[in-house]
């Protein structure tokens, strides 16, 4: 089975890109599945079900979405193998723009949209930097110049990524993405595979339910800002 990870800010068009990719791949129903990692709620499963694509949705709830991803990815792969998929896609929103659910040896795609501000590619962390492919959506509503500057800013952060423009409505560009996906490596297990990047560190009193504010309630991994006039 091939596994690919798709990440990107909320509403960038991840689901639309995956659906257009599915069309371009022209699989029979049931040959491809999607696991959607989300935080609180999601409506994307309706869109997958409409197209006959099996989908599982998981909500991280109060946990860091990256931690949630890494502790559930093996289960997802096993589900995919049991279901006999040729392709399993995981979809997750990089909610703090640092998330990076990318695994070494697994094709990694970052989806970002042209409306999200010209410097956005430079503000997104490992999710952009560590991707093999950066897919840009919503290019049909901005000027050619803006598309070019946007691509330039992506290349600055990730010079080696392939940049593919995709129109999530017409599917223009999806053929090229499909070609890349067809060349992705086959996997049978993720046991002992490694993430491309560490998940955000989070072991502190607030992780375990503390809500009170004040030095005496803070324990674990903390990071302090420096302000002029602070007593050290």
């Amino acid at each position: 089975m091939r596994l690919i990870t798709v990440a990107g800010p909320p509403s960038a068009g991840k689901t639309s890109v995956i659906l257009k990719l599915a069309e371009a791949l022209d699989f029979e129903n049931g040959k491809m599945g999607v696991v959607k990692f989300d935080c609180l709620t999601s409506f994307d499963h309706f869109r997958y079900e409409e197209k006959g694509i099996p989908v599982k949705t998981g909500f991280s709830g109060k946990l860091c979405p990256d931690h949630f991803f890494v502790s559930n990815i093996e289960g997802s792969v096993n589900w995919g193998l049991r279901s006999g998929f040729q392709l399993l896609i995981t979809e997750s929103a990089g909610l703090c723009n640092r998330c990076s659910p990318y695994i070494r040896g697994v094709l990694s795609i970052c989806v970002i949209d042209n409306l999200s501000g010209i410097n956005t590619p430079r503000k997104i962390g490992p999710m952009m930097k560590m991707a093999d492919i950066v897919t840009v959506t919503k290019g049909d509503i901005v000027s050619q110049a803006e598309r070019e500057v946007f691509a330039f800013n992506i290349r600055q952060v990730n010079p080696s990524a392939k940049i593919i423009f995709i129109n999530g409505i017409t599917g223009q560009g999806a053929t090229i993405l499909a070609k890349q996906v067809q060349n992705a490596e086959e996997i049978t297990s993720l046991r002992d595979s490694r993430l491309r990047f560490t998940t955000p560190a989070a072991v502190c009193s607030y992780c375990t339910g503390e809500t009170r504010i004040g030095e005496e309630y803070q324990m674990g991994t903390m990071k302090k800002m420096e302000f002029e006039g602070d007593q050290v």
Binding site: S143, Q144, P159
Partner: protein, 340 residues
């Protein structure tokens, strides 16, 4: 220069010399939030003065920064300005929606204008999509696209990264909150333009010539009128964009000098495909292709008779233009305007 050559250069050259040659390097360090580097040192030495915790936040180690910097130089030093050079695009026909064969082979060369006609939903966008992805019998139409007479390998196809086609359509907008000057400079910078000031100036002048109403350097691009935006987009595509193929979708009512717009683009050695039903534009093209049910059903060379028609159409257009101008200036229409 290759990655290895850059690496050798970076290892032995003080950083300030590298930055002087490639100002874009500033962005690389900015992206990593490294502000105060000792640029009189080589990058390797300068990095040893930087707190390594900072790198961890970006998921890199010091030696990665060195490698990534050389990758960055390789990509940006490749001369983005050159862009993709294409002299001729050949389309080997596939099938239409009913599976019938379309016109088997046709080509477009640099400087040529092709108009594309056909009802909405007939497959005009599909044609463009096929050209953009350099279809190799792997899209629904089964078309095959040749560049300068040959099919490209998959690797070459990806290398084009959508840089082949620039698109201009009615529903495109500016979303950046920048003035005209900032906007043009930003685009020129991303193109690694060598003669930035000159290019920006040319672009601005052309845009103003195309637009019905003039606009200044310090207007926000988001505040331009529909016609002004369109004019700026066209001038920008002609003078700054690297893409050799331009597709223009319906500019009939944009309030710009359409004839001049097309001329500028064709003169800039681009291949122009224009989807239009406006006789003024359709007849100005060298050829037009007719799309029907998803396939190219005819190719028509603009005939002598059509060229003669064009002269009449231009006169009519001149009359309309005159009336529009008169109304714009607050004048009253006179019947003699009709028989110009």
């Amino acid at each position: 220069m290759s990655f290895e050559t850059y690496m050798a250069w970076v290892l032995t050259t003080p950083l300030n010399q590298i930055i002087a040659q490639h100002p874009v390097c500033h962005d690389f360090f900015q992206n990593l939030r490294i502000g105060e580097l000792h640029t009189e040192l080589t990058l390797e030495d300068a990095l040893s003065h930087v707190d390594s915790e900072l790198f961890q936040e970006f998921g890199v180690e010091k030696h990665d920064v060195l490698r990534e910097f050389c990758e960055f130089l390789t990509v940006f030093g490749r001369g983005a300005e050159e862009g993709v050079r294409v002299k001729k695009v050949t389309i080997l026909g596939g099938t239409d929606k009913a599976g019938a064969s379309e016109v088997t082979e046709w080509s477009v060369s640099v400087g040529e204008i092709i108009s594309v006609v056909g009802p909405t939903g007939s497959g005009k966008s599909r044609l463009l999509a096929d050209i953009e992805c350099l279809a190799n019998e792997d899209t629904p139409t089964g078309r095959k696209i040749l560049i300068d007479g040959r099919a490209l390998s998959d690797e070459e196809r990806f290398d084009m990264e959508g840089r082949l086609v620039a698109q201009l359509s009615q529903n495109m907008n500016f979303v950046m909150d920048l003035t005209v000057r900032e906007f043009l400079e930003m685009h020129a910078r991303s193109r690694m333009s060598k003669n930035m000031e000159h290019t920006v100036q040319r672009c601005y002048e052309q845009a103003n010539e195309l637009a019905g109403e003039k606009f200044g350097w310090d207007v926000k691009v988001t505040q331009l009128s529909g016609g002004q935006s369109r004019a700026l987009m066209i001038a920008d595509t002609a003078y700054m964009s690297a893409s050799p193929i331009v597709l223009i979708d319906e500019i009939e009512n944009a309030g710009i000098d359409r004839r001049k717009a097309i001329d500028i683009l064709a003169r800039k050695e681009k291949i122009v495909l224009i989807s239009t039903h406006d006789p003024l534009l359709a007849l100005r093209a060298d050829k037009r292709i007719v799309i029907k049910n998803g396939g190219v059903s005819r190719m028509i060379d603009t005939s002598l008779e059509e060229k003669l028609c064009l002269e009449e159409v231009e006169k009519l257009d001149g009359v309309l233009y005159g009336m529009r101008e008169c109304l714009r200036r607050g004048g009253e229409l006179k019947r003699e305007l009709l028989v110009k």
